[in-house]
Point group: C2
Chain length 141, copies 2
DNA sequence: ACATACCTGACTAAAATGGTCAAGTTTAGA
DNA sequence: TCTAAACTTGACCATTTTAGTCAGGTATGT
């Protein structure tokens, strides 16, 4: 059971973005330098964030990204879902060998894993970008 | 972010064990058949459970495993830790490029990931094997 | 026109996952 | 005492995921 970097990078990048966008779009290059994340990797991540309407982009010189919504409206669950980092409970085998078949006799752990999933998602639904900004208010500009 | 099968298997096997041990040790072969988990894989898992004093073993014919403690004393966190399925937050890079160095300027997500870890562990600390037995009381013997 | 910055897709090395396989050792019971 | 059941150990492996890199684009402000 592991929490991977992709989601963490996405969150870091968006916090960075939230602190610097206000008026002008922020280029990935800047975020890359400030956060120490590879530019190419950031592009992959922002492509997904854009598809999920979390950020908007402007092309060309002076282009970059801005948030689509206010930080308080962006929940961490939105971000993590966008980059495919949603919590995935291991699937019980479809062709029920012995245990879980989704029907009458669910395997013992079925409900447990569902509960955990809910538990974690609740956590991420409550936290917004805004919450993270508060903890990290050593602004640079 | 994914929850893997190893932990799930461990929990399934122990619930099975809790239901059938009482007097005689239960063989992995039986568990394997009932739960549809490969015998060889179960051996790997039980080797770890034994090292962590969650089960005891008896060798030879009629041998098998029994729980070391009462189901209510065995928390899910114990089980998952034993099979190396503890929650692992992605490490922030040691050689702080820009972000987290553990010192003054922790990366923005540092606290967040710690919080989540606590959140999940709390969940597993509360649940015991006993709790799972209740939900699944269609005994066979 | 040209540098900046977004955009897209293919590719890859390394690690984790979910096992299998082989070769034991121990012990109950015939 | 022999043997089969059951635990024990460690090596091995195919597949998938992760965390990127690389190589090309396309759009646009100056």
């Amino acid at each position: 059971m592991k929490l991977t970097s992709k989601g963490r990078y996405a969150v870091m990048a968006l916090v960075d973005l939230a602190r610097f966008d206000t008026i002008n779009p922020v280029s990935l290059r800047d975020i890359s330098l400030r956060q120490g994340i590879s530019l190419d990797y950031l592009e992959q991540i922002f492509s997904k964030l854009k598809k999920n309407q979390i950020v908007k982009s402007t092309r060309g010189t002076q282009g970059g990204y801005i948030l689509s919504k206010k930080p308080i409206e962006i929940k961490l669950s939105n971000i993590l879902n966008a980059v495919d980092e949603k919590v995935k409970t291991v699937q019980c085998k479809k062709e029920s060998k012995k245990g879980c078949n989704g029907k009458a006799t669910k395997c013992v752990t079925h409900n447990l894993w569902d509960e955990l999933e809910t538990h974690i998602n609740t956590f991420f639904d409550k936290k917004s970008l805004q919450d993270l900004l508060k903890n990290n208010s050593e602004r640079v500009n």
